[in-house]
């Protein structure tokens, strides 16, 4: 072969073997971080015990936390072992084994650092919570305030839940309608496409709180007959109107992401435009948009709190009444906890649906 060949005939020079990377330095850093973590955690546990006047539960929690913070000491000790092994192997000129010992030692040191950092963060949060004489704990986490407000809070949270669920059902239907309107073909569809486009633009632009104020206060003024309606229903309408605009975009993206060949295949079997949408495009699009759809639903759920501005007795309004009564924000924290508790299972449920669909398609 000449110089124009695709591969060079010259042999690559043998590279000089690299020396194992040092371990002692990272091992020391790991140990120091672990010790700092233990120290801070002991401090935090003492604060926790003192704040709760030495209550048994607080003492046990503190002890568990301190025990946990001791864990990174083990990998740290092992990392020093790795450093020693590396040195002795290097002395015997066993380069490959020394490199392995070095890699293992460094990994142990990094594990120690990771767990120690976690201990430092947890201890830091606790110390902050009990700073200024337990100011944070008192303001946000007073158990007595929780106990007093709980029955009323959970009752009004029920309003948030059913408002969210009813709105979500309405949004699913109305959003799909808007999405399909925006994708109508031909000149005949043009006016409806425009209307759907304007709707989506307008309601994505208006802040939800403005829509709520306009509808919940405005409709009873404009239509005297509506004055007897429960304002919660007007709240449902305003949330549905706002979120339909978002969900329409999600659906539209989902429909647009289905390859045109699917539509061609359906049409070639003789399915009409509507049948193609219903049996082929929408079922596939809905599966694809479950995660973004769920995102919008979680937003909607949280925005039920905005109904408090329209004097609807949902959980945030109730928590604010309790807050002004007790001069303590703990009921508001409780409301936050409620929202967290209902949101997390939904995220897991969406994951489950996605996994199940993937598994079924893969024929498992």
């Amino acid at each position: 072969m000449t110089g124009t060949g695709l591969i060079s005939e010259e042999l690559q020079p043998t590279p000089t073997p690299s020396r194992p990377r040092p371990v002692a330095g990272v091992a020391v850093v790991g140990l120091l971080l672990a010790l700092v973590g233990v120290a801070l955690m002991v401090l935090a546990a003492l604060r926790l015990r003192d704040y709760n006047d030495g209550a048994a539960a607080a003492t046990i929690v503190g002890a568990v936390l301190v025990l946990g913070s001791l864990y990174p000491l083990w990998p740290s000790i092992r990392s020093f072992g790795g450093a020693r092994e590396r040195a002795s192997l290097l002395k015997d000129d066993q380069l490959v084994l020394a490199r392995r010992a070095s890699a293992a030692g460094r990994e142990e040191a990094q594990i120690a650092m990771g767990y120690a950092a976690a201990a430092i963060i947890v201890a830091g949060i606790l110390l902050t919570a009990f700073a200024s004489d337990g100011g944070i704990a008192k303001t946000f986490f007073t158990a007595g305030a929780w106990a007093d407000s709980f029955p009323e809070m959970i009752r009004s949270f029920w309003t948030n839940i059913w408002v969210a669920v009813v709105s979500q059902v309405l949004v699913l239907a109305f959003g799909l309608l808007l999405a399909i309107m925006r994708m109508l073909p031909g000149r005949a569809g043009a006016p409806l496409r425009l209307i759907a486009l304007v709707y989506c633009d307008v309601f994505r632009a208006i802040p939800a709180i403005v829509t709520i104020l306009l509808i919940v206060f405005g409709i009873p003024l404009a239509f005297p007959a509506a004055a007897h309606w429960d304002p919660v229903w007007l709240g449902v309408v305003s949330l549905s109107m706002t979120y339909s605009a978002y969900v329409a975009e999600v659906y539209r993206a989902g429909l647009a992401s289905i390859h045109p060949s699917q539509s061609a295949a359906a049409r070639s079997l003789g399915l009409s435009y509507t049948q193609t949408l219903r049996t082929v495009l929408v079922p596939q699009a809905v599966r694809r948009v479950i995660p973004p759809l769920l995102n919008d639903f979680i937003s909607l759920q949280k925005d039920t709190a905005l109904l408090s501005t329209a004097s609807i007795a949902e959980v945030v309004l109730t928590s604010k009444l309790w807050e002004s009564q007790l001069f303590n924000l703990s009921p508001v924290t409780l409301a936050a906890a409620f929202f967290i508790i209902i949101t997390i299972p939904q995220a897991r449920f969406a994951d489950y649906l996605i996994d199940r669909d993937a598994a079924r398609r893969a024929g498992k």
């Binding site: 060949s261 699917q262 061609a264 295949a265 359906a266 049409r267 070639s268 079997l269 003789g270 399915l271 009409s272 049948q275 049996t279 082929v280 079922p283 596939q284 599966r287 079924r360 398609r361 893969a362 024929g363 498992k364």
Partner: protein, 247 residues
Amino acid sequence: MAFLEIDEVHKRFGNNEVLKGVSLNVERHEVVCLIGASGSGKSTLLRCVNALEEIDSGDIRIEGDTVSGAGVDLNVLRRDVGIVFQSYNLFPHMSVLDNIVLGPTRIEGVPAKDARERAMVLLESVGMAEKAKAYPDSLSGGQQQRVAIVRALAMQPRVMLLDEITAALDPELVGDVLEIVRELARQGLTMLLATHEMGFAKEVASQVCFLDNGSILERGSAKDIFEHPREPRTQQFLSRVVASGRL
């Protein structure tokens, strides 16, 4: 009057004229192969026959009935004309069986039970019966393509369009699919197929058309085209195919 008549069909995408006046007659029970380089217009011609693309001018007739242009009953047309695609295009959210019965039940109003029975008979004949409950993504390309053929056959079309149906398959899976097409040809199904499998075209085609740059440059029996091509462009195309080991 031929069974399927394609008459001076023009089709453009924007400024790009893809079909420049293509005329072609397909008789009943005839198998016509379209060959030619990628981009020569084979797929577009097939899609036009099935009205998946609108033609700009010309005429397409089945038994003398115009099936192109405005006012055509597309659903009736597509019941008569089946198409199988290069990329199978099965519906991934439906099982194999549901893919096949969708057309007969929704379009022809066949009772679900009858449609399923017939689908099973067809699946059996292509060796796919045990996969009836499977979903397309769990099947190999060759299996998916066999299901796609069955899906088209379930509509009992009078003419089948096959658009490079083996082009996306692993070489070892091509044989199974071609065997089915061979069997369909033996049973007398009218077919119009675009293919890169020259050996297969030579074997089954009653007529071979060489498309180049949007028009049919040369046509004739398989023997004429493959052994005595007249046009220099056809000769060049075939010699390249031979050089790449596909003939």
